[in-house]
Symmetry: C2
Subunit: 272 residues, 2 copies
């Protein structure tokens, strides 16, 4: 406890949480919430136990607690989430200026090029969408926010990795497992390092069917007032419909403008 | 424990959670997440303790656990939420068909009348936004979803309350505290009951500056395949710009059409 305290107060690594400090019940309760998703919006007790690895007795205690707190509804033997869980995710989004600042710029970009555009941030080794405007599908925004993809296979990930300080990038390249997601995914750390060097030099990234067959995207960095890369904005296109050449020639220039406008709104000096 | 088990398995009331069944740590951990919001995106240990009513030692344990689980970032003495918390709220949204089904209909309505439109559900005594299309402000969707307002002061709330079975409505009217939010808020349970009777009869609700000065709105019920009211869709307008008469004459008819279309997509027979 004293150790943990010291760690926190001095802001050093807190990755290793000591026994007695770690609140296992919180971990398990959050796992129960995450057991529900689009494919499993309604679960019974056994299914929650199976999805979380908890015993039925433990799963029941957590479900009852979540029912009591208004996060879970029970009807007969079936459990489902209640809208109150939105307060948890929105605690994050509402504290973020990035989605709001990005909004008008993403809209303008999407209406100009008629392709979908997103903003993401780096969280560990993943990019996480915090904003998205899909061409002609306004509400898709909501559904897509929170989506995670491995950074090494996405254009936004390349931009965010290229924006890391050298030491952090070296750590990432040493630890990341670069699994092939398509036949084009870059899986060699040395090759990825070279790609990220190009991204730094040219100021944007293009990924060609490395995350998913048929999907191309380009991304550009969003910088804060200190000039640090804090987010990436992308345009994603269908490989069938849009050639790599058209993506680079026609879409990258407005994308770079959009990234610069968002950066400016975040206080980044125009020259950065 | 045996009692709790029986309760759950038979699906009877689980509001009263017995000591030993209720997982207090989960309650407290979720309170720590909720302590962060738009006004307080970054908190130190003392601020989290104050906002949650926890001791500093307890707040520290929960924060450390959340840091370990990837939900909270610590920099020096400052804590903030990480994007992983989005997984919690989006577990709910992604399991809901309503936002997706509503999407094209809300978009069509907003482009037709050029006013903002939302879909909400009843959660306890509040309406909670699960979808919103704001005229010209696509991304507002995200920020607004999860917003709660007391049902008695909103047009969507009136529609949802009017859709309750009589016994549930009587319970609501007996327990609800109808605090005046503007000079026009209906604060008398009998008067509210009469208003809801009108809503049932005419099939839509209009609220005129009862939630907030300067804000008018109209709402219509969305029904499921059994014909039960499961959501409400609204149009909200500025009282300065749009008269009550224009709201009723010009906006209510397309609103009713939109509600009927969403209901039909949810499987509601056209006659309901």
């Amino acid at each position: 406890m004293a150790d943990a305290e010291t760690e926190l107060e001095t802001g050093t690594t807190v990755g290793r949480v000591r026994d007695g400090t770690f609140v296992q019940s919180l971990d398990r309760g959050l796992a129960v919430i995450r057991a529900f998703d689009a494919q499993h919006p309604v679960l019974n007790l056994s299914e929650v136990a199976r999805a979380t690895g908890l015993t039925r007795a433990a799963a029941r205690r957590f479900l009852l607690t979540l029912v009591h707190l208004g996060y879970v509804r029970v009807e007969g033997r079936e459990f489902s989430l209640r809208p109150r869980v939105l307060e948890l995710g929105y605690s994050y989004l509402s504290g973020l200026t990035l989605p709001e600042v990005s909004q008008p710029h993403l809209e303008a970009l999407v209406s100009r090029v008629d392709e979908s555009s997103s903003v993401s941030v780096l969280d560990g080794d993943d990019v996480v969408y915090v904003a998205r405007v899909h061409t002609k599908r306004i509400m898709t925004v909501m559904i897509t926010v929170g989506t995670r993809f491995p950074a090494y296979a996405t254009s936004m990930g390349h931009v965010l990795l290229a924006g890391l300080p050298d030491a952090e990038l070296a750590d990432y390249l040493a630890r990341a497992e670069l699994a092939p997601l398509t036949s084009r995914t870059v899986t060699d750390p040395g090759a990825l390092r070279a790609r990220l060097g190009e991204v730094r030099a040219q100021g944007y990234a293009v990924v060609d069917e490395e995350l998913e067959e048929g999907l191309r995207s380009a991304a550009a960095p969003v910088r804060n007032r200190e000039g640090a890369v804090v987010a990436a904005v992308n345009l994603s296109v269908s490989a069938n419909r849009t050639s790599l050449r058209r993506l680079e020639d026609e879409f990258v220039p407005p994308l770079l403008e959009t990234a610069a406008q968002i950066s400016r709104d975040l206080g980044c000096p125009a020259s950065a």
